[in-house]
Symmetry: C2
Subunit: 414 residues, 2 copies
């Protein structure tokens, strides 16, 4: 069955916010086998929303839309929706009673703005939003389904995962599903990877596609198939995964939605090992990626973000002589940071970074993008020099990926 | 002039990647006064791309599109484009010579994949991509402009900022520009804010719009106007900004694209103050946000990410008695973390966090979402208890915002 994602908001059109809602809805629909045919973002205007609905309903059977249901005046979606499907606005008593109760819980009284929030299209099935105050609305219109949700990401996520997807799946007669298998690689560029596995790719049957998703030192390879027989689909995906891994297996660090930090977490917790980081140019980004995962406290001890050189010596115990002799961005200092972090934070392994992220701080000898990374472990220390570019954010992300990949290699004994 | 953003890629449609390219292009166009009418993401197929182009050219004068120009087999954009505008594919010698030179620089030889990358639509103006290997292409088609760029974000950013926008602006006869002024607030909810400034909003002239952009403890207020007279537009935006600030000024921390970390950076560097963080549940996210900004080394000393309680005592010197008596998630411990971080990292101010980010680790007494934050400074320590929700990512981001806002309040003497 075909699905369409329609997001509403001038803030998206002018580039003030990134449309992460579309990503979430797309993924939730795709894993259930819906074919998402397009994402469209339109203006907060009557014409914008109506044109978007026309396009969506011409292309798909189900439309998930977000935005424009909040209490403020730039939100007009529900009125346009009522007009579009040919219904009146009506006061929704149940929603009002819920709001009054919520605000009473905060010792506040629900005001006129909240009352207006309870004026809803009469033909809509109102879906209570337990993560917020503005409800979702489900319309059946000319044999198709339109679902409207608030644009606040975690409210939308609640409604999609707990309310909308279960209702869609329950009512879906189409048994065809789309299944993907994503192989995560680090350390090879997109072109090199493509040349290496060209023979596998050329021999893929027509109903299986292979996509390359490169991102700063990592490339995800996504195999996708469609069908009704779960076992056959899984067997087919596994067959081509195995063929790919027979060629580039040493660059594979994980599968699916994992990232390098989660792959490290699984490996370390399985082997009962602990980790620490000592970060200069990455400024806490490695620690953040690690601790973004639930359960990371099982292996992660902590980090010293030694942004100032003084912290490198006073907290991490890197000697001031070493710093003076080689400079902070050097093999010697980054290795000392990693080795000392193991001691200071009492971990089995430690990852360290020291580099010039930019835009300032570069010199002829050490231009912006000159970055040292190191991993210290029970068997000693290993370091690597990166030559990245001039973009600060890119340099930081690239360093995070390369440092975790260096660690992963050590853990796997490569 | 109207502009359209068209992004191509199944990875976007199935929700495997978020379309940050659309955000970047939208913002680059908007600040130059182009009205971005829609963003559309379509499939990597002939039909998908052709339908997208039809829609885009019906709605706008300029189409910026990304995706599908890489060396791998899932990339078909350029062939579909050639067919769409009615031209042949031709080998582009200049691009080939450039590729050969680039690969020679790495000691490699350009291969057949790279040769294929130089087959380009004959009627396109080829725009050299100094950030990568796949070039941009500029088409003039039936009085409209179509620009196709690679989907790798930093390559697209290079082409948009250095090549495409300058060419568009040079050729633009429409003098009308859109101008926005964004007021950044923290500490008030969207509804409360809307009620407080209702009178200002109601009195706005029709050509000025006000949008609310809430995000976990912060709300951005965006005033937008259109016109040709720069001075008049700025004066008008400033007038309404002043009216809003007269009411809710104490919640305003900055303007435009700043975030709380940059507002803190400006204030601290202006007052010659230094900062450190001691992070438990935020796991380095505050340090990362701070060090994401160029020039942060001017005030930021570093951080101790004390994820394990043992690190709280061994590195930050929080007494084990205090930890045993009150637990790590307590007013006493978070205040000690902040005060000790000032000493250990030798800073004027220190921010500390300790809480249960979830999904595990909660109890009846301290459920998931129970988070303590503290700020220590020359005048002592101030702490605050947050009751957030069950979502780990949301809890972390909310804590980062609230902790930096608590610091900002201290710096401003509120």
């Amino acid at each position: 069955m075909k699905a369409y994602i329609l997001t509403i908001g001038d803030e998206i059109l002018i580039g003030q916010v990134t449309d992460t809602n579309a990503t979430y809805m797309a993924e939730a629909l795709s894993v259930e086998g819906y074919e998402v045919v397009e994402h469209l973002s339109v203006a907060d205007t009557r014409d914008g929303i109506r044109n978007g609905l026309d396009r969506a309903l011409a292309a798909a059977d189900i439309v998930l839309m977000t935005g424009g249901l909040g209490p403020t005046k730039d939100d007009i979606t529900k009125k346009v929706l009522a007009e579009y499907v040919g219904t009146e606005m009506a006061f929704h008593q149940e929603s009002w009673e819920r709001l009054v109760k919520i605000y009473a819980g905060f010792g506040k009284e629900a005001g006129p703005h909240h009352r207006e929030q309870c004026e809803l299209p009469a033909s809509a099935t109102v879906i209570t939003n337990k993560a917020g105050t503005a409800p979702g609305m489900w319309f059946e219109h000319k044999g198709k389904i339109i679902v409207s949700m608030p644009g606040v990401p975690y409210e939308m996520r609640y409604l999609v995962s707990k309310e909308i997807i279960p209702r869609l799946v329950a009512g879906n007669v189409d048994q065809s599903r789309q299944r993907s298998l994503t192989i995560l690689t680090a350390g090879l560029g997109e072109s090199t990877l493509a040349e290496a596995i060209e023979a596998v790719e050329d021999a893929l049957p027509r109903h299986i596609s292979l996509a390359y998703l490169p991102n700063l030192g990592t490339v995800r390879l996504r195999l996708t198939t469609r069908g009704t027989d779960e076992t056959a689909m899984q067997a087919e995906l596994t067959k081509y995964k195995d063929e790919i891994e027979a060629i580039v297996g040493q660059y594979v660090y994980g599968y699916g939605k994992e990232d390098l930090a989660l792959a490290v977490q699984k490996k370390m917790q399985q082997d009962n090992l602990t980790l620490a980081t000592a970060e200069s140019c990455t400024g806490g980004s490695i620690a953040r990626m690690i601790t973004g995962h639930a359960g990371s406290s099982g292996h992660f001890r902590g980090s010293v973000v030694a942004y100032d050189n003084d912290v490198k010596s006073s907290v991490l115990g890197v000697s001031t002589e070493l710093l003076a002799q080689h400079g902070a961005v050097s093999k010697e200092v980054v290795e000392a940071m990693a080795q000392n972090a193991r001691q200071v934070l009492k971990s089995d392994y430690a990852v360290a970074t020291s580099g010039i992220a930019g835009p300032g701080g570069g010199s002829d000898e050490k231009p912006v993008g000159t970055i040292w990374i190191a991993v210290a472990g029970p068997d000693g220390v290993k370091s690597k020099l990166l030559s990245s570019g001039k973009d600060r954010k890119r340099n930081i992300t690239y360093t995070v990926h390369m440092a975790l990949n260096l660690l992963m290699g050590q853990l796997q004994g490569k």
